[in-house]
Amino acid sequence: MLRFILSRLASLGLSLIVASLVIFTVTEVIPGDPVSYMMGLNAPPEVEAALRTLLHLNGSAPTRYLAWVVGMLHGDFGTSYTYRVPVAGLIAARLQVSLPLTIYALILSTLIALPAGMIAAARRGRPTDAAVMGATQLGIAVPNFWFAMLLVLLFAVRLHWVQAGGFPGWDKGLWVNLKALTLPAIALALPQASILARVMRSALIETLGQDYIRTARAKGLSRAQTLRRHAFRNALIPVLTILGLQFSFLLAGAIIIENVFYLPGLGRLIFQGITQRDLIVVQSVVMLLVAAVIVVNFAVDLAYALIDPRLRRPA
């Protein structure tokens, strides 16, 4: 098991290094000189030089890359060109919205999808199955941000149950904030839950066709007992893969959906960064998003090993 974790850790580190290289190359090497890119064409050289010093963008690309990476390891993500404040502070403030939203949506999606998929698989070919499959077919086709707009139209504009958007801030208490994140989380979760439910169903059906299921039935287990005791855990393996992928979709989705609900999250920060050519902000936020995806995949790999002993102790 230790060996397995070590080898996964090594590949985690390698992935992070390569990803940071790619991001750095795109944002700082391809545009040529990032400072003149951010300031536009007609900036006076002495202003450019001053900014260069302010943003710590002196030196060659390799030294800047090293400085960037070392900085990040110390929690220093550089200084924003637009705001002239440390990017780390900006990100920390925005993460307080985006991260809870993503996790909230992930939990909702899992809580809806796994039971739905299990019920559909258990009642394969019957009306319940058809209903679940039909609903998920539709759920997959709906863009989450449009679904979000429909939710706003219904619950905020027509029914006045909730505010159309905005985020009070965590200092105002847990409940109001959860309420503010509920519609966005539902909008994010339902399309993903549709995918996950279908994967759960087909993984279970595939598992139910395995020889060991027949063995279990021959031992005297009922259909329901077989599903619970033998099929479920084996079916979780493909479900975990999708769950890992979903994290990155939800993170990206959260960034988009913040626009619908006027949430002050990472999305707003990054889109402002793009409009204002603030490469430092874009670079850091993108690195953070990519790192999050890589770390989640690492966690998924470890979870595989918890479920499947063949990965722990290869024969």
Binding site: S7, Y212, R217, K219, G220, L221, P309, A315
Partner: protein, 536 residues
């Protein structure tokens, strides 16, 4: 006393009849053998008794056991009965166990499910049941993937007999196992029957297995039981023509003219082949497994050489190296005096001297190509396509007993035996000197196998071919080879003329191999006119 009585059991799946009025009795404490070729409905009969038929299946008739008709029992009562009164084990021990649960938990589950023990007591009892099937030194916390195939089948048996059922149904329990393991599992089953007064219903395609263990036997063909009776009587008399044909085919030895010359064709010298094992950590040096260790032998022109060994003995690895598919780590292989090298460094004219026929008649052909293109594939080895290509395709098809019309068909239109003929045609078309037959008849039913062996014998005579026959099956060796190499753990432990090795083995491993192989007693063959029986 009759334990289980099946009357007029018929099964259809989505309207297609599978079983037709099957009737038989199993007595208490006896071994009942059910034999038949693939697709005859043996497994379906067992699943019908257990009420575990696939979706869309409908069963009629009656299965009486303990005063109840199993076919009429509701699912709840069937669940209570399965595992408690009837246990069952299956063919494929590699996939029959849940890969994510420990073997201890899986054995204990039988006890817990039927309320026979609490969880903690069941665990202790699981230990006892595993001891009883000969797994005393395997901890309960092991997972299935850490066990060998034979050990896994023992776990399955422990699970199935944990509650001392009155009947154990074993569906081809040893087919996926090596002969020595098969003998051990059969011994275990025999002991359990004797000690527990448990009846055993043994389903198999292998007449010799049944001959050695069953009190009564029924022969199945196309969903019907064609003949049944006490095993020895049934085997000696062979009243039904189908039984006679099965019997003849299982012992069939083709007519062979001696074709072996003294000219060496294939010469293997100290061949060594290592496999790289997966790295333990990303930075550790990979380990090695020596699959073939310093193997040397010579195969003469026109000779038929058998290479026998159990799974993992390295025989298929050696074959791959001979065919130039893998690089050797040591030693040389020479064909007609020239060195065999691997990969695309090997010259086409060298490759053209040998061809191969594989085991699986279903995976041996690209389903998207028609037969003419399939068997013409080795023409790739010629400098340019032959001008008489079509004629040679016809010739090859005719030689293997098919017709030139078959050239335009696709592979799914052929049966398993016909496919093996097409595979032989593909090997023949380039007019090689050597054909490597890698378990080429192992997947075939006995009657088809006998026909293919006849074909191979006649082609050897007509085309002057040398065969390297790789097999785990001693009866195939006896039928078609002149000489035998016995391989074990990557090394050749014994070599000699076929009859000599099979009748008077010298090496202890060969002796154990031959002792483990089930055989129909010699005496049972008498009182027959088998030689006059047509094979089909």
């Amino acid at each position: 006393m009759t334990l289980l009585s099946t009357r007029d059991l018929s099964v259809s799946i989505n309207g297609t009849p599978i079983l037709d009025r099957v009737s038989f009795d199993v007595a208490e404490g006896e071994v009942f053998g059910l034999v038949g070729e693939s697709g005859s409905g043996k497994s379906m009969t067992a699943l019908a008794l257990m009420q575990l038929l696939p979706h869309g299946a409908r069963a009629t008739g009656a299965v009486q056991m303990g005063g109840r008709d199993l076919l009429a029992l509701p699912e709840r009562q069937m669940c209570a009965l399965r595992g408690r009164e009837i246990g069952m084990i299956f063919q494929e021990p590699m996939t029959a166990l849940n890969p994510v649960q420990t073997i201890g938990a899986q054995v204990a589950e039988t006890l817990v499910i039927h309320g026979a023990a609490s969880r903690s007591v069941a665990r202790a009892q699981a230990r006892h049941h595993l001891d009883r099937v000969g797994l005393a030194d395997i901890p309960l916390g092991r997972f299935p993937h850490e066990l060998s195939g034979g050990q896994r089948q023992r776990v399955c048996i422990a699970m199935a007999v944990a509650l001392r059922p009155k009947l154990l149904i074993a569906d081809e329990p040893t087919t996926a196992l090596d002969v020595t393991t098969q003998a051990q599992i059969l011994d275990l089953l025999r002991d359990l029957v004797a000690q527990e007064r448990m009846a055993l219903m043994l389903i198999t395609h292998d007449l010799a297995v049944v001959a050695g263990i069953a009190t009564h036997t029924a022969v199945m063909q196309a969903g019907r039981i064609v003949e049944a009776g006490p095993t020895e009587v049934l085997f000696r008399q062979r009243a039904h023509s189908y039984t006679r044909r099965l019997f003849a085919a299982s012992a069939h030895v083709p007519q062979r003219a001696p074709t072996a010359s003294a000219t060496p064709l294939l010469h293997v010298e100290n061949a060594t082949r290592d496999y790289q094992l997966p790295r333990a950590t990303p930075f550790a040096a990979p380990g090695h497994h020596r699959a073939v260790n310093a193997v040397s032998f010579t195969l003469n022109e026109g000779e038929s050489l058998g290479l026998v060994g159990e799974s993992g003995s390295g025989k298929s690895t050696l074959a791959r190296a001979i065919l130039g598919l893998d690089v050797l780590q040591g030693g040389t292989i020479q064909l007609g005096g020239e060195a065999v090298t691997a990969g695309h460094h090997m010259h086409a004219t060298m490759r053209a001297k040998m061809q191969v026929v594989f085991q699986d008649p279903y995976g041996s052909f690209n389903p998207r190509h028609h037969v003419a293109r399939l068997i013409a594939e080795p023409f790739h080895l010629l400098p340019k396509p032959p001008t008489d290509g079509a004629a040679r395709i016809n010739e090859a098809l005719t030689a293997v007993g098919l017709t030139p019309d078959d050239a335009n068909k696709f592979i799914h239109e052929f049966s398993g035996g016909q496919r093996q003929r097409i595979a032989i045609a593909r090997a023949l078309i380039i007019r090689p000197k050597l054909i490597v037959l890698d378990e080429a008849v192992s997947a075939l039913d006995v009657r088809v196998r006998a026909q293919i062996l006849d074909l191979l014998a006649s082609l050897q005579a007509s085309h002057g071919l040398a065969y390297l026959f790789i097999t785990h099956d001693l009866s195939v060796l006896r039928a078609i080879t002149d000489r035998v190499l016995v391989m074990r753990a990557g090394e050749i432990v014994e070599t000699g003329a076929t009859a000599q090795v099979l009748n008077a083995p010298q090496h202890p491993y060969t002796q154990s191999l031959i002792a483990a192989t089930p055989r129909i007693p010699e005496g049972w063959f008498k009182e027959t006119t088998d030689a006059a029986q047509p094979l089909v």
